[in-house]
Amino acid sequence: MKSASLKTILFLCILFAFGCKQKKEVSNADIASSKNEIQYAKGFEIHKYNGYSVVKITNPWPEAKESFSYVLKQKNAIIPDSLKHFTIIPIPVKTIVVTSTTHIPALEMLGVENTLVGFPDTDFISSEKTRKRIDAGKVREVGKNENLNTEVLIDMQPDVIVGFGLNNSNPTLDLLQKSGLKVMLNGDWTEQSPLGKAEWIKFFGALYGLDSKADSIFSGIEKEYNATLALAKKATKKPTVLAGAMFQDQWYVPQGESWAALFLKDAHADYLWADTKGTGGLSLPFEVVLEKAQRAEFWIAPGDFSSLKQMSDSNPHYAQFDSFKNKKVYSYAINKGAKGGIIYFELSPSRPDWVLKDLIKIFHPELLPNHKLFFFQKLE
């Protein structure tokens, strides 16, 4: 008697365990078989399944040791148990809070800008469409930089909050998550390749069930970019380029593997620090920069100045550079939105093709005679 019931229990246990294992294996196989939809961006992956998709943020901040996965669940979809421990976000979302101006163009291109209900530091937003909504009071101020106002957000109850983390500790976001809100980390700012950054529109597309729209928008940008890239290769010259500006005694230049430097490479220019490693900025003493870049033909992105006089007032040493003397200084900081937000910061990640066209127009004007500079302006 005893042994029989023991055997039954044992048998049931084994059956149960086997059953569980089976389920797990099925799910793993599912994920393995579903390919990553993303081609250029290295910071995230999208895996599509029946009724849901999994968005995996692999590089939320530089040197991140962990990745973050989110399950975007359509109505009536069934989520396998193995995925239930991830944050599940019901889609399509109807209200959204984003935290970087780079997110705004994606929303607008997908036509869902009306779902934006909150943003920190709304003054930074340049896009006129969204500024109208802000002025009409439809977009609420939710804090400053990474310091989001938890009370306001909890009160608002947006369907999803798209935030970003600079490092491992994000107490504000953790707090919001604990209070029951859906928080997603967006790592678009760590993306270095021009097309990689633009591909993040698919991140937002997935949130609204507008994946195919996002795909087609991106393909269009991709085509334009590659075409412009091919055009650049036809350039006969490779002008030398200086970037950055001084603060006190230190000059900050982008490193060779950074997004800004990659653009210069794609535009067929000789960026003087192109061979430095790293994706951030390099700080150098003024003397070193003068030695290396005094003869540079062009000067890109000298910081927040709107005229050559402003530059020389701020620091008389700027006038020593040939690019300054020959008036070949181009800045993206002149084009600003109504409340001072810089358009380049907001829009350029989504439209790398426009950036590249601008740069080609600057360096090789003969290749694009009809293009008008959009992001960059020559400093007078």
Partner: protein, 343 residues
């Protein structure tokens, strides 16, 4: 007298040292330029490389001049403060000048968010910072003096200065809380001090202010010597204490205020150099101390600046880091020595 002979020799050596350090300072930097080229350019010739010419004449030379002015000005104001307050730990900033400057500059850099964009960009130019710093120093100095006047005690000024320092730190801290990373970096950079990047016009203004301050200090030498015996004896010698104190405070304000406005708050030089002078010349006579402090101040500042350039390297150190590394051990050593004298 033996002492006078010794002093003359010391002064001669010091003067030569200052001149040498001046030239050495100009010849050292991130870019290696041979000494021959440096001297050639300085005496009026042109260097073989255009960039070298510019670096020597328009970058390093103004920096060296600034270093000399800063070293002299801050050291003398430190000497004045130490004798007036009979406190060896007093420095040029005890009157609240650097806290006021920090407050002014913080309002411009960190508080830019609270100002309309047009005003903010105007103030962020280099002249704006100089103006904000001077105004801040002036206002806090006035506040300290008004409060101290009611207290009648000269020593009270020290404490009031300290209190205002805490107050301004609190305000600056609050402003930092609402600032972006970029603003904070700008402000931090300012507070780390910077001797370079002054236009020739700025140097002229700074030179004028320092000259006025030094001349006034010269006239304070006799009162300072009288004060060596204490306020009561000094009065019995016919010293107009109130007037003397006013002139001393005024000269310190011009010296430390203008230097902080153009170069940011430079730490420790004002505190440490007078002690070095007293140590080497072994006297309390302010005639000797005035000139020795001046020369030591210039030398040490030139040395610190040369170190901060990290010659041959690709980085530069902020000047405050170097002066602090120089000055802190001296202050510690002083405290130990003072204990011995009391005990």
């Amino acid at each position: 007298m033996n002492q006078t002979k010794r002093n003359t020799v010391l002064f001669l050596i010091l003067t030569i040292v200052v001149l040498c350090l001046f030239v050495i300072n100009i010849s050292l930097g991130s870019v290696s330029i041979p000494l021959k080229e440096v001297i050639h350019s300085l005496i009026g010739g042109t260097s073989s490389k255009e960039t070298w010419q510019y670096i020597i004449i328009d970058y390093r030379l103004p920096k060296a001049i600034t270093a000399v002015l800063v070293g002299m000005g801050l050291s003398i104001s430190g000497l004045l403060m130490q004798t007036l307050f009979r406190n060896p730990l007093a420095g040029p900033y005890v009157l609240g000048l650097s806290s006021g400057a920090s407050l002014g500059v913080a309002m411009v850099i960190l508080g830019a968010a609270f100002l309309p964009a047009s005003v903010a960009s105007l103030l962020l130019s280099s002249y704006g910072i100089v103006l904000a710093s001077s105004l801040g120093s002036f206002l806090v100095l006035m506040a300290v003096l008004v409060v101290s006047y009611r207290l009648r005690d000269t020593m009270a000024i020290l404490i009031v200065g300290l209190m205002f320092g805490s107050l301004t730190s609190a305000i600056v801290g609050t402003l930092s809380y609402f600032s972006t990373a970029e603003q904070l970096q700008k402000f931090t950079f300012w507070s780390l001090g910077n001797l370079g990047n002054l236009s020739w016009t700025s140097i002229l203004v700074l030179f004028t202010c320092v000259l006025i301050g030094l001349l006034l200090s010269l006239f304070s030498i006799k009162p300072l010597n009288a004060l060596l015996l204490g306020e009561n004896y000094a009065r019995s010698l016919g010293l107009n204490y109130k007037k003397a104190r006013l002139i001393i405070i005024f000269s310190t304000s011009i010296l430390a205020g203008s230097i902080t406005a153009f170069a940011g708050p430079i730490a420790f030089i004002g505190l440490a150099v007078p002690h070095i002078a007293k140590l080497v010349f072994q006297t309390s006579n302010h005639v000797v101390l005035f000139w020795s402090t001046l020369l030591f101040g210039a030398s040490i500042m030139l040395i610190c600046d040369s170190i901060s350039q990290v010659p041959g390297g690709d980085i530069t150190l902020p000047i405050n880091a170097v002066t602090s590394i120089f000055g802190a051990p001296i202050v510690i050593w002083l405290l130990i020595r003072k204990r011995k004298m009391i005990g």
